[in-house]
């Protein structure tokens, strides 16, 4: 900056001095003689700046830049993650479960006919089951429920859920429970007296990745009492 200021100083040195064109000529001559003349310096400086700018532009526009590589990496990573999930869900086919279950009816608490004309029964059951073999590394949780299933003249299949639970860990999958029916056992009609019925343990396996699957164990040979009590 100090050198730039020096030009007007030379102007003031000879006040009756040269006209504009003459001054330009002088300046040019001076520039040729003395390369450190301010104008040239400015030119050199601006050239350097342009070069820097070019460098920056080159970095930004580089094909294999930071963002490009990061994008490629993310895309590939997600693809492989999807593949891994597919493998995980396929690996469940290698597991052949062997669940077991047993339900005892300890007591028929009461057995009545509603005023509207529907039978309702209350039971106490012992449910014991071992569903540990359903659990693999890809199992999130297992939903189990006990349903009473029987046939009447009105409906070819009656299915009434009596009890259910959600099992979230392999350790809890082997259980024994003494319970009365959690949900009301009401028939559509008055067909329950002396009726034979099945108790079925259903389960739905929910996986971390993959399709939900369901299966059941049917236990037969249960019978309602002949009379209301």
């Amino acid at each position: 900056m100090t050198e730039q200021n020096s030009t007007p100083v030379t102007l003031t040195k000879n006040p009756d001095g040269p006209t504009k064109t003459k001054l330009k000529l002088q300046e040019r001559l001076a520039a040729v003689e003395n390369p450190a003349e301010p104008r040239q310096r400015i030119q050199i400086w601006s050239l350097k700046r342009e070069k820097k700018k070019k460098k920056k532009r080159k970095k930004k526009g580089e094909m294999h830049s930071f963002g490009y590589r990061f994008n490629a990496l993310l895309t590939f990573a997600v693809t492989i993650l999807a593949l891994m999930c597919a493998i995980a869900s396929l690996s469940d086919n290698l597991n052949i479960p062997s669940p077991s279950a047993e339900i005892q009816i300890v007591n028929i608490n009461w057995f009545q006919k509603h005023r509207q004309g529907n039978d309702e029964v209350s039971l106490t059951m012992n449910i014991s089951a071992d569903l540990q073999s359903l659990f693999t590394w890809n199992t999130k949780q297992v939903f189990v429920f006990v349903a009473a299933e029987y046939e009447t003249t009105k409906n070819s299949l009656n299915q009434i859920s009596l009890w259910d639970a959600i099992i979230q860990a392999r350790e809890d999958a082997r259980f024994w429970i003494h319970t009365s029916n959690k949900y009301r056992f009401v028939d559509q009609g008055i067909y329950l007296r002396g009726k034979e019925f099945n108790l079925t343990l259903h389960w739905h396996v929910m996986r971390k990745t993959g399709k939900m699957s369901a299966d059941k164990i049917v236990m037969s040979g249960y019978r309602f009492p002949e009379e209301y009590r």
């Binding site: 294999h64 590589r69 490629a72 990573a77 995980a88 693999t136």
Partner: protein, 91 residues
């Protein structure tokens, strides 16, 4: 990053991700833990990111040598547009 560096980075990225995926799958299947798989794979992805995304010096070992401008002027670019209307046959 030079040409060979780009190739190296891409190959490194693919191989490292594949290996970490396989390792994650295998170990967690043996240990029976899905969470383990996700954690191992996440670790692999972060490691791969740190190795292949920044412009490390070992990606810049084969710098391209450009011709000097004076050398380039001796062999000027051939002018095509004047000679032919038809496109030159490409192989």
């Amino acid at each position: 990053m030079d040409w060979q560096g780009q190739k190296l980075a891409e190959q490194l990225m693919q191989i490292m991700l594949l290996v970490s995926g396989v390792v994650a799958c295998a170990t967690s299947y043996i240990l029976g833990s899905f969470q383990m798989m996700v954690l191992i794979y996440a670790g692999g992805v972060v490691l791969t990111t740190l190795i292949t995304v920044p412009n490390w010096p070992f990606f810049n070992r084969h710098a391209l040598k450009w011709l000097d401008p004076s050398e380039a002027e001796k062999h000027p670019k051939p002018q095509q547009s004047v000679s032919s209307k038809k496109k030159p046959a490409k192989k």
